[in-house]
């Protein structure tokens, strides 16, 4: 199991040919308590860097960008009732969506945990 990170503060965990995607603890802390989360519908094809979900705090909406190209194959329905799961466990219960990875080669463009930690200091 390998976790990758983006400069835009998403994380991605590879499970076979599917990536579980969420936002990092750093991003969750910056945004504050979330009040709404939604993702593109299942079956939507997205390219790396496309907006694939939106998280909203009291004050603002923020796009979540697809860390790699792929097809949306699931949304974390628990977030519909309790978006704050993201704040409580951003890399656990607070995952946001699953993507079927279109090009595993793109994983090489992402950061590892050490590089992301260095980025957010």
């Amino acid at each position: 199991m390998t976790v990758y990170y983006t400069k835009d503060h998403e994380w991605l965990r590879v499970e076979g040919d599917v990536a579980v995607v969420g936002i990092t603890a750093h991003a969750a802390e910056e945004l504050g308590e979330l009040v709404f989360v939604e993702a593109k519908e299942d079956g939507t094809a997205v390219a790396q860097g496309d907006s694939v979900a939106v998280v909203e705090s009291v004050k603002a909406a923020s796009d979540i960008y697809a860390p790699v190209s792929g097809t949306v194959v699931g949304f974390n329905a628990a977030l519909t009732d309790d978006p704050t799961l993201v704040n409580g466990a951003p890399e656990g219960e607070g995952w946001i969506l699953k993507l079927r990875i279109a090009d595993a080669g793109q994983l090489a463009s992402l950061l590892d945990a050490a590089a992301y930690a260095a980025l957010v200091g």
Partner: protein
Amino acid sequence: MSRDLLRTPLYDLHLSLGARMVPFAGYDMPVQYKAGVMAEHLHTRTAAGLFDVSHMGQVTLRARSGRIADAALALERLVPADILALKPWRQRYALLTDAQGGILDDLMVSRLGDEALLLVVNAACKDADLAHLTAALDGDCVVEALPERALIALQGPLAGAALARLAPATAEMRFMDVAECDVAGVACVVSRSGYTGEDGFELGMASGAAVRVAEALLAQEGVAPVGLGARDSLRLEAGLCLYGSDIDRTTTPIEAGLDWSIQKSRRDGGARAGGFPGAESVLAQLRDGAPRRRVGIAVEGRAPVRGGAQLFADAQGAVPVGRVTSGAFGPTVGAPVAMGYVAAGYEATGTALFAELRGKFLPARVAALPFTAPGFRR
């Protein structure tokens, strides 16, 4: 960039309280503290929040004649409110209008006894307001900006008890009363008002004494610091306009639903009807109705609809009828809250609308303002 931003006298205190600072109207201001926007909002509704609003402009008007009535009549040349009837040590909301009836700024006007009028204006407008006031009133009034004055707001149901422990006389004040009193050994101008929909106070004092007053208030039971993030969601739930979002030069007082800020004496048939910039069009709208009106908007579901979202009469987005000017999740309401403008005919409470959000048309309806019951001490 940050070295170009101005700082209020409470800047170091904000940092020591763990504030996250953001640029706002040229100032480096606390958007939230450690508790976060949601908790700070709810704390203000249930206890007391302390806000630094020192970035706002404070201006005094003194009549050259020495008569307060002359200062009041002079200011009435620029605002549609009845200033002459403002009693000593009372405060009133007013609007600066332009020749078309657009809103240049909204402000609070306090009458300091028989000495002067004290205006509190928006931070982003203060330089323009000062130039406008000086150009129009200089012959009759001394217009003086008070950049060395700080302003602190204490808002919420425990605000009265907290302030009364430091300044017992404030317990007697009613909504929109103004008083000079000593708070923690500091001479303050206190008004029982604010911009959250809660009971509360605004305290003006010399900049050098602001930290002492803020620390004394923060030491009181139930008082916690609150940032601009929660200030915005609080005022939105309270149905209060944010200048630059909900009102500006393209909106008139009548379109904005601020008719109540134009007292009878300034309306048709009143003792001093008109006489302010744009009076002809503003009074015509007051008579005949405005082409659009500001309304509250409740959106179904949990997704907040933000300022700029278009409003439609139908689920396909074929008939545009208005636009959202402010929108957020309302922590007290527990649902999205918004306000905006709709064309005449769509303003009745309960009218069905559709708000465009990321390409979808969400069912919404016109909601009565405010979204939360006001806590004022009348």
